[in-house]
């Protein structure tokens, strides 16, 4: 499904990693580990096509993602560091906008249901500026519930700012998605306890570059 071939990433004058290759199939989870500044986010941004690698290429179903473009983006969800939440919009409006941009048709009811799953039923109509950091994170993660059909999730630190219950819920969500045969790439500092899942770990800071 997703293949990385000889990726090299250079930021400024530093080579963050080079000669990084892996391939992920259906129902596989890739966990990218590494110290701060080891290039986890850069790797994820390369994998989703926001950043072009200094060397090498990323292939999706055999085709280079730089030529697939929209065809590839239609099939992935990328949730980055910043939550892409607008302060002035309500939680529900934020969710509907995020899904529509991604090309998923979502009605109000579906959006409310997804927010309900993340325990945000009470704040769905509140402007996002009154939400706490964790609640904002949940609003952006709620998109995952509406993206069950998409075969690749790329999640940058999905567990930050979440409480224990929400972390558990996220892990179940990821496990279910992998059980459906999808592929998930995530970065995390915590040891992820995702049950019954084939997990591949790449530790960027342990690699000699």
């Amino acid at each position: 499904m997703l293949e990385a071939a000889n990726l090299e990433c250079v930021r400024g004058d530093r080579t963050l990693f080079s000669d990084l290759s892996f391939s992920l199939g259906h129902g596989e989870l890739l966990r990218v580990a590494g110290t701060n500044g080891s290039g986890k986010t850069s790797l994820l941004r390369i994998l989703c096509g926001l950043l072009s690698p200094a060397h090498g290429e990323v292939r999706w179903r055999g085709g280079n993602i730089r030529s697939l473009r929209e065809e590839y983006w239609r099939e992935i969800v990328y949730l980055g560091h910043s939550s892409a939440i607008k302060d002035e919009l309500t939680a529900a409006e934020n969710l509907v906008v995020a899904c529509t941009l991604a090309g998923i048709k979502v009605g109000r009811d579906q959006a409310m249901a997804a927010l309900h799953c993340f325990g945000l039923a009470d704040c769905a109509e509140l402007p996002a500026k009154v939400l706490s950091q964790g609640q904002r994170r949940r609003v952006s993660l709620a998109r995952l519930i509406l993206s069950e059909k998409l075969p690749l999730w790329i999640l940058d630190e999905p567990f930050t700012a979440l409480d224990a219950a929400a972390v558990d819920y996220m892990q179940t969500l990821i496990a279910e998605h992998i059980a459906r045969g999808a592929t998930v790439v995530l970065t995390t500092h915590q040891e992820a306890r995702i049950a019954s899942v084939v997990m591949i770990t790449i530790d960027l800071s342990a690699r000699v570059t």
């Binding site: 950043l51 991604a102 048709k105």
Partner: protein, 222 residues
């Protein structure tokens, strides 16, 4: 594809509605700048009539510049821009939505209020519609060209000043033709040719600017 376009326009208009002060600042700036000239130059009617087109057009340029730097920077800061770059709809389409919303919020109000302001300059009534029409065709061009600059200077320190230096020279042809439309009409000649050129600017900008903006955004986001 059109769903994304509609979604972006609706979202930006909703955002503008919930932060009305931003919209009003640009409009008030326009009103005040235009009003300063009759106050400063005295009440010589012939002089005022001569400078009216230029003053109103220059004020419109400056006022539409005010809101340009915010066009993409907020989306860039909160991560929405990344999601737009990864959208399943073509980026050009989303960009068109952003520009249309910018014009509706920052351009259209100027067009609507300009005939009222032109009265301060004792502009002849038959020229009021020429002025309004020239601004109606010209301001979308300003939004389109300005968006290229906004996308190029995204994420730079001191981007605001750089943006003005980059964009204002590109506004010059629009300014010359736009203000020229009223001058030529006031001389009693047909302004049709000027309108044609102004419309041609709009067509060319509408076709090519979205591509340039999209390319600039991809570079800025890296």
């Amino acid at each position: 594809m059109l769903t994304a376009l509609r979604c972006v326009i609706a979202r930006d208009l909703l955002l503008a509605l919930r932060r009305r002060s931003d919209v009003l600042t640009a409009l008030l700036f326009f009103v005040i700048v235009v009003s300063l000239f009759p106050l400063g130059l005295g009440n010589e009617p012939n002089l005022l009539r001569t400078i009216a087109p230029g003053v109103i057009w220059v004020a419109a340029l400056l006022s539409s510049m005010l809101s340009l730097s915010r066009m993409f920077s907020e989306d860039h800061a909160d991560g929405t821009l990344e999601q737009m770059l990864l959208s399943s709809s073509p980026l050009g389409m989303i960009v068109v939505g952003k520009v249309v919303a910018h014009w509706l919020v920052a351009g259209l109000p100027l067009v609507l209020i300009s005939p009222v302001l032109a009265l301060q300059f004792d502009l002849h009534q038959s020229l009021l519609w020429v002025l309004t029409l020239s601004l109606l065709i010209g301001t979308p061009v300003l939004s389109l060209i300005g968006a290229i600059g906004a996308a190029l200077t995204l994420g730079l320190r001191g981007g605001g000043i750089l943006l003005s230096l980059l964009v204002l020279p590109l506004y010059v042809p629009v300014l010359i033709i736009g203000a020229g439309t009223i001058d030529i009409a006031s001389a009693g000649l047909s302004a049709q040719g000027h309108f044609m050129v102004l419309s041609a600017f709009l067509v060319v900008a509408a076709v090519f600017a979205p591509l340039a903006i999209a390319a600039a955004l991809r570079i800025s986001a890296e």
